[in-house]
């Protein structure tokens, strides 16, 4: 299988203003084969959204390499980057702030084509209608403004905008977390259907394990800027090996009968530490129920425990 996206040792560090450094993303590597979906899950501060923004070249990259189908995205600038942009697009989290309230929907979807000079101008309006139909909205709605749509419809519009440039890769940042469950199912099904029909490749960021289980082929779990476990979706839910992955899956609210009235099933104490000054050793050691001394001094690297399952834990 050919890798469409390949990320190597990506680091994104920000200064804090008080002289410290935020290690938002700290040495992350992954590949996504063409036509597949990689999910990145994690809690706030895990660096999952920053990873997505770095891939989109919307966050400054401190070091590391990002290649999209042979294009060194992490190293190109200016015109060259603009020429590459049609190939990777993004769908954002907030259906309310991700569409410019002053623009009509038709213009919102047309804008990527205008700015990147795709298609002949007269053909663009026809393409807008085609895109609206593709995401399940009636083409006549293009003359309305975003606030005239519901949350789910707005996410469809955001998806149409991302599809406008005929990208190879779409990066989704929590695309359904602001939606009600019934609407969430509609949007998730649409996302999956588009992939089946067009062979798109997805990078899918979410905090919701049920959602990633449903849309992803492979899943990477991030904690404090690092990937702590990566495996196929089936494998990671069947036999999670990292204690953090195990705790995350245990804590996910579930309808399963054994979860009834168990009061949350908390396994972890405390909150994730801040990514400002990372402790030495394993980033998870301070909350890990099985940590030993070694964990607090030596950083575990991601190693393959089973075919297709890599875990960063000394004890796994």
């Amino acid at each position: 299988m050919s890798q469409l996206l390949s990320v190597r040792d990506l680091r994104v560090h920000f200064p804090t203003g008080r002289g410290g450094t935020i290690h938002a993303v700290d040495g992350v590597s992954f590949d996504i084969p063409r036509g597949q979906t990689l999910g990145i899950v994690g809690e706030s501060g895990s660096g999952k959204t920053t990873t997505a923004l770095a891939v989109m070249r919307l966050a400054p990259i401190t070091s590391g390499k990002i290649d999209l189908d042979g294009i060194p995205i992490s190293r190109i600038e200016g015109q060259e980057l603009r020429r590459a942009r049609p190939r990777f697009q993004m769908v954002f989290q907030d259906p309310f702030s991700s569409l410019n309230p002053r623009d009509r929907v038709g213009r919102i979807i047309r804008q990527p084509m205008d700015l990147l000079g795709l298609l002949q101008p007269p053909q663009r309006d026809a393409r807008v209608e085609e895109l609206l139909a593709q995401v399940g909205l009636r083409p006549e709605l293009k003359s309305l403004y975003p606030h005239q749509f519901s949350g789910g419809q707005r996410q469809r519009i955001g998806l149409a905008r991302a599809l406008a440039t005929k990208p190879d890769l779409i990066v989704f940042d929590e695309p359904v977390s602001a939606l009600d469950v019934a609407v969430q199912a509609q949007v998730l099904n649409l996302i999956r259907r588009l992939q089946r029909e067009t062979g798109l490749t997805y990078l899918f960021i979410s905090h919701d394990l049920g959602v990633v289980r449903h849309v992803c082929d492979e899943i990477a779990v991030m904690y404090l800027g690092r990937i702590v476990e990566k495996a196929s979706a089936a494998r990671i839910f069947a036999s999670p090996r990292h204690p953090y992955t195990q705790a995350l899956i245990a804590a996910a609210p579930s309808l399963a009968p054994e979860h009834r009235r168990r009061g949350g099933g908390a396994r972890l104490q405390g909150d994730p530490p801040s990514p400002v000054n990372l402790p030495p050793g394993c980033p998870f050691a301070s909350r890990c129920p099985i940590a030993v001394n070694d964990c607090r001094s030596r950083v575990p690297t991601l190693r393959e425990l089973a075919p297709g399952q890599a875990v960063a834990c000394h004890l796994a």
């Binding site: 809690e43 706030s44 519901s150 789910g152 419809q153 009600d180 469950v181 019934a182 609407v183 969430q184 199912a185 509609q186 998730l188 099904n189 999956r192 259907r193 905090h207 919701d208 394990l209 049920g210 959602v211 289980r213 449903h214 849309v215 979706a233 089936a234 839910f237 705790a247 995350l248 899956i249 245990a250 804590a251 996910a252 609210p253 579930s254 309808l255 399963a256 009968p257 979860h259 009834r260 009235r261 168990r262 009061g263 949350g264 099933g265 908390a266 396994r267 972890l268 104490q269 909150d271 994730p272």
Partner: protein
């Protein structure tokens, strides 16, 4: 049978807006007993938060108005009390915690001061005793080094810690009823699990009745004894949590449960969808509000509001197709 702490009967709340009168709550009835956890679940705009606000007498007025029904709290009808009497009950016998602990805590006072203030509003104790009580409450909600944290300002704490402070404040006056409005929506999963565990432990220890308002069926499964499912201002199904989750009666409840992406479900199948969107409360017809989206709808659904049909003991759903027994159980 224990006397319910809260017993709401046929509550109706109207909002008068530019576009007409909206029946924000329509014929809402439920009860909670001491030590019991009732979850009110539904999508945004279904009226679940409005139910909480009406218990506390906090409906924004205008445009809102209670137009019928009663809210019996320990035998007293809250809809007939004056604001001054309600104020004594709020934060005392009935406490509430909100979704965003950052905006519900005052940023210019320390956490300890705020809890102590809450204590002194409802109990005659010295400032020193109130502060001691605050520290004790912080310890009770599992905050490490409570003496130190009592002196911290809200922004110095993490989201999970702030929610614990909110819970400590809510519980400081030993309420008989705690209303938790989406208390973990802003929190991470592992922290959410901790807050759930805390609420569960507290209700077992203190016997406080809890109303959990949530959009998350997973949270219902983890926490609730009883569930009320709301749609467009009405309770369309209610019953013991197990009964509702395992044997949902109303097509909406079924759709809602089916559309949740589950870890243990077949990931290759498409999620069942509920087509369409929630209707605006100002243009509801005479019939069942869910009918336009319902796969089982028949013309009769649009004729009149369906009554609740008993499915088993304490479990009922408002669907006429259920009456006709065409919804297989």
């Amino acid at each position: 049978m224990t006397e319910p702490v809260l017993d709401i009967r046929n509550l109706k709340v109207d909002f008068v807006t530019r576009r007409g009168v909206a029946h924000v709550l329509d014929d809402v009835s439920f009860s909670v007993a001491a030590g019991e956890l009732l979850a009110i679940v539904g999508e945004s705009g279904c009226g679940k938060s409005m139910t909480a606000l009406s218990i506390l007498g906090l409906i924004p007025s205008p445009p809102g108005r209670i137009v019928g029904g009663s809210i019996l709290f320990q035998g007293r009808d809250l809809t007939r009390l004056r604001q001054s009497e309600l104020r004594r009950i709020r934060g005392g016998d009935i406490a509430m915690i909100f979704q965003e602990p950052m905006t519900s805590l005052n940023p210019v006072f320390t956490c300890g001061e705020q809890i102590a203030e809450a204590v002194r509003l409802h109990q005659k104790v010295s400032p020193r005793a109130a502060l001691a009580r605050a520290v004790e409450m912080l310890r009770a909600v599992g905050i490490p080094e409570p003496e130190l944290r009592a002196r911290a300002y809200p922004h110095q704490l993490s989201g999970g810690m702030r929610q614990r402070v909110m819970i400590a404040m809510a519980l400081s006056c030993e309420p008989r009823l705690l209303i938790a409005d989406e208390p973990t929506t802003a929190l991470d999963v592992t922290v959410q699990a901790q807050i759930f565990a805390l609420l569960d432990e507290l209700r077992q220890k203190t016997g406080t009745a809890i109303i959990l308002i949530t959009h998350d069926m997973g949270a219902v499964a983890e926490m609730a004894d009883k569930v009320a499912v709301m749609y467009a201002g009405r309770i369309i199904e209610r019953g013991p949590a197990d009964a509702v989750l395992d044997n949902p009666g109303h097509p909406y409840t079924r759709g809602l449960l089916a559309s949740i992406p589950r870890i243990d479900a077949d990931p290759d199948a498409d999620l069942p969808e509920i087509p369409g969107i929630v209707p605006a409360l100002t243009d509801l017809g005479r019939g069942c509000a869910f009918a336009p989206r319902c796969a089982l709808a028949v013309p009769a659904c649009n004729a009149a509001q369906p009554h609740h049909v008993a499915m088993s003991r304490d479990h009922s759903a408002a669907c006429i197709r259920l009456q006709a027994n065409e919804v297989s159980a």
